[in-house]
Every structure is written in C-alpha cells, then in structure tokens.
C-alpha cells in the first residue's frame, strides 16, 4: 500500500504559477470593477435625489396604497372595463397583423440571400433599426397627433414599432432558410418570384407565424400601457383610476390585465406548438 504523496503548499505554488501568482492587474480587475460599479451607483443615488427619509416615507405610503387596494372591486364599471379589455386585445391583434403584412415584403429586401447588393440592403436595415429605436409609447404620441385620441392611434403605434422588429426578425429567418430548395426551383426554370413563393416561403412561414403569435402575446402587454398616453384600451382606464386614487378599481384592473395576459400566453403557446409541431411532422 502506497502512502499518498506528501505535498506542501510551497511545492504546489511552484508548480501552478498561473493560479497562485497571477499578476496584480488580473487580481485587481474584479474588485476594481465592483468598486467602480458601486461608485457610479452611489453617484446615481445622490444625483437622482434618493434619500432614506424620502424612501421610507414613500414605502409607508405604498403600504397604505396596497392596503387600500384590498379587496379588488370594479364598482359599477365592470362593463366599461370589459369593453376596454376587448379594445386592448383588438389593438394587439390588429396592430401585430398589420405590422406583419407590411414587414414581409420589406424583410425580403433586407435579406442577404435575396438582395445581395449592400447598397440597397444597408439603408433598409438602418431604417428598420431606427424604427425599433423609438419606443411604442412615443409612436403612440405621434399617432395621437395625427389621427386623434383613441384606440386607432394605438393600433397604428403598435403596427409601426413592430414593423421595425418584424422586418429584422423575418429577414433573419429568410437568411437562415435552406438554399437548396430555391436552387431546385431555379433549376426547373422558375422565375425569381417562383423561387420566393415555392422555395423560400414554405420554409419561413411557420417560423414567421410563430413569431407573429409571440408578438401578439407580448403586444397584449404593450397595448395595456399605450392607453396611459391616451391611445385607448384598458391602460386609459388604469391611468385614470390611478390619478383619481380609486385603488380598489386599480387593483381590479391590474388583476384583469394579469389574467388576460396569462390567457393569451396559454392560447398562443398552444397555437405556436401546433404550428411548429406541424412543421416538424412535415
């Protein structure tokens, strides 16, 4: 029986210099980063008027608000809220569909395997990027200026801001598509449009449908908030009730939103699974 080899610390140190004798710069990098992060944090807290007294006063206020929210109660305005919820869902569905319809042709132009020329593709990509750089709420404000207050402005706001996102996502899906089927169509004498219709679209449509469903889901959330600036839907009711401090109605509205979002999540999850499952089976 052999005794385990005796090793002392000095020997191990000598054998693994990389681990034990790291240069000071490497050893200090992490603490320095943490200190810098905290320095900015402290500066931020001071600059943004954080003070413990204000924080705790606000917290106790928040405690009162939470107490006043219980129990959630719509009062007599349940029908109004249900209608607003329907409006929100309509905004999400219509806005997303509109965005998808307009984004599909543009995404073809932004895909490398369809438009090889950089000169056309680059400006389209930057254009889509700048649309995405502007928040949905800002688009809502702009559209309110154009078509007036109401849910229609919300539909257009969601349509525009999703147009940017869809253009990018769709073009990535198209770039990821298999080129062999396109070549097959070309070999049998198909035109460029035939290549897209029979070679590309059957491959990318399930992906696109999945993304559209996912966006309908996430737009249900966006549609709840664009009401806050006056673009219709349940957000309008929510903002109003918060401003007049009707906390029981507020908590009821928040619950309604949570339930609606969960329901849409569930439905679109099922649908997405059905679509992607069908693609896998085909």
């Amino acid at each position: 029986m052999t005794k385990p080899q005796e090793v002392d610390a000095a020997q191990i140190r000598a054998r693994y210099p990389d681990v034990f004798d790291r240069p000071a710069s490497a050893r200090l990098a992490t603490p320095a980063m943490i200190v810098a992060a905290f320095a900015i944090l402290i500066y931020g807290l001071v600059d943004l008027d954080f003070s413990p007294s204000r924080f705790f006063a606000g917290l106790s206020q928040l405690g009162w608000i939470t107490l006043m929210m219980i129990p959630p109660d719509p009062g007599s305005s349940l029908p109004v809220y249900l209608k607003a919820l329907g409006e929100t869902l309509s905004i999400a569905l219509l806005g997303t569909t509109l965005a998808a319809v307009f984004a599909l042709p543009v995404s073809l132009l932004a895909a490398r395997n369809i438009v090889p020329s950089n000169i056309l593709r680059f400006p389209i990509r930057r254009f889509l990027d700048s649309i995405r750089g502007v928040d949905t709420l800002i688009w809502a404000l702009v559209w309110i200026n154009v078509v007036g207050l109401g849910p229609f402005a919300g539909v257009l706001a969601i349509a525009v801001s999703d147009f940017g996102a869809f253009g990018k996502l769709f073009s990535e899906a198209i770039e990821g598509a298999d080129q062999k089927q396109v070549e097959g169509i070309r070999a049998s004498g198909g035109s460029a449009l035939h290549e897209i219709r029979f070679g590309l679209l059957p491959q990318v449509l399930p992906v696109i449908a999945g993304q559209v469903l996912y966006f309908i889901e996430s737009n249900t959330r966006s549609a709840t908030i664009i009401g806050i600036v006056g673009a219709g839907g349940i957000g309008l009711q929510l903002a109003e009730q918060i401003r007049v401090l009707e906390w029981q109605k507020v908590s009821f509205l928040i619950l309604m939103i949570l339930v609606a979002v969960a329901a849409i999540d569930f439905i679109s999850g099922k649908l997405r699974f059905a679509i992607i499952g069908r693609r896998a089976a085909a």
């Binding site: 600059d47 329907g86 309509s90 569905l93 219509l94 990027d129 750089g133």
Partner: protein
Amino acid sequence: MTTAVSILPEQQLAVLNAAYRQAVSRRRLRLLLGAAIFAAALVLAAIGAEVNLRTLFTYFGNFISYFDRILTLDNGQRVWTDVGEWFWGWRKWLKMLGETLLISYVGTLIGATFAFCLNFFAAENTSPAPWLRFTVRRLLEFARTVPGIVFALVFVIAFGLGPMAGVLAIAIHSTGALGKLFSEIVENADMKPVEGIRSTGASWLSCMRFAIVPQVTAGYASYALLRFEINVREASVMGFVGAGGIGQELVVAIRKFYYSDVSAILLTIIVTVFIIDITTGWLRGRLFGKEARA
C-alpha cells in the same frame, strides 16, 4: 443506360390519387377554416378598436407631413442647415439624457442584485423548499407581468414626482425579468460541484457561493447587460408619467408641437440607444469570450 419508371396499374393508381386528393383537400379546408377564423377575429378587432379607414386615408398625409414638420425649423429652413438652432437646448437635453442613463443603470443594478438574491430560491435544483420556490416564482412573475410604467404611475403617487419613482419601477420590473433568466441559468448549471462541496459538510449558503456562483457569473453579467439595454429604452419613456428622464422633455415637445425639438430629442434618443446597443454587444461578446477561454 435507360432508367425505367414503373407505373402502377390503373386501378391502384386511381385509389392512390383519390387518397392524395382527399388529403390535400382536407389540409386546404383546414387552412381555409383557420384563415376564415382569423379574418373574423380581425374584423371583430377592427370594430373593437374603432378602426376608421376613412380617417386613416384623410390623415395619412398628416403622418408623412408630420415628419416634414419635425424636420423644419421655425424659420422654414431644413433642420440640418442650422444644427446650432436645431439643438438649441442640447445642454438641458444632455443633462436629461444623463439622468435617463443613470435611472436605467441604478434600476438595473438594484434589480439585478435582488434577482441575484432571489433566483437561487426560484431554481428547481437549488431551492431549499418547494413552498419557498412557489412563492418566489409567483412574486417574480408578478413583477415581470405588470408593465414597468404601471409601477411608475403608482410610485409617482407614493414617492412623489421625479426620477426616484422611475428607478424603483425599473428595478422591480428588472427583478422579475432577470430573476427568471438567472434561475434558468442556475437550473442548467452542473450539480457535481455542489455535491462535492456538500460532502465536505458545507451549508447551503457555502454551496451556492462556491459551487454555483462561479459557474453562472458570466451568464448573469450577460443578461444584466442585455437588461440594461432594454431599460435605457424603458427609462426614455418614464418621463411620460413624470418619473424622470428625457421622456419629460419629449412629451412636452410633442404635446406643445415644438416640431424641431421633437426630431432633435428623438435623434438624441435613437443615437444613444444605438451606442448602448453596440457597447453592450461588444461587452457581452468579451464576457462570453472570456468564459469560453477559461
């Protein structure tokens, strides 16, 4: 060499053809049915959302001319002919922009810290008790599902107008979003180091500290950076409800029809978002590069 394609006898072929046609027509019918349901839903939605195509046609010109107007100075010139006049308020806007970035930074850091503390309880493989996991998960879900701006609306009333409400709203929303992502990283972590450390008699806390945390920090940092990117966008609209940042200036400019200001502030926001996107993308690339090298 000739290749022969064997053709089935007529009757067999007829049966196969019929079956094929039936299968195709059944698929077509299902597709048509789906399309019909979707179209019906759209029509219903259009009625619900008070879509009025005539309004759109009448006012669509306004949408185009809106961009014409925001790109025109008060004296009728294009904005880029006199950049000094266009960005007349750049000192104030840069200050507000700095505030926006600080709001998102502080909010992200606070949110990430809370998410870091909570995610070990939410992950399947490290949670000490099922009831604790359930509670933490529901809590994170709530923080994630309620939109940040709704929190901001409530906080503005509780904490008063100003950036503090914005920071807290972003912090809570980030806690929810990051808590979920972090716990997913932990669920994918290798459990062998945990077993090794537990076998030495270490407590739960030491197991997390020495077995899980070293595995997950790079992933955490990457997600936190991504969240920072999202929060910059979110912080730019917090001002709409009075929760600080450049949104306040923007909403005033839009509502009061200070056209050239709108384009100047929008451009500032877009450029900032671009820069942040590129920087965090580069940082994340470096982080993941480091992880791959180790």
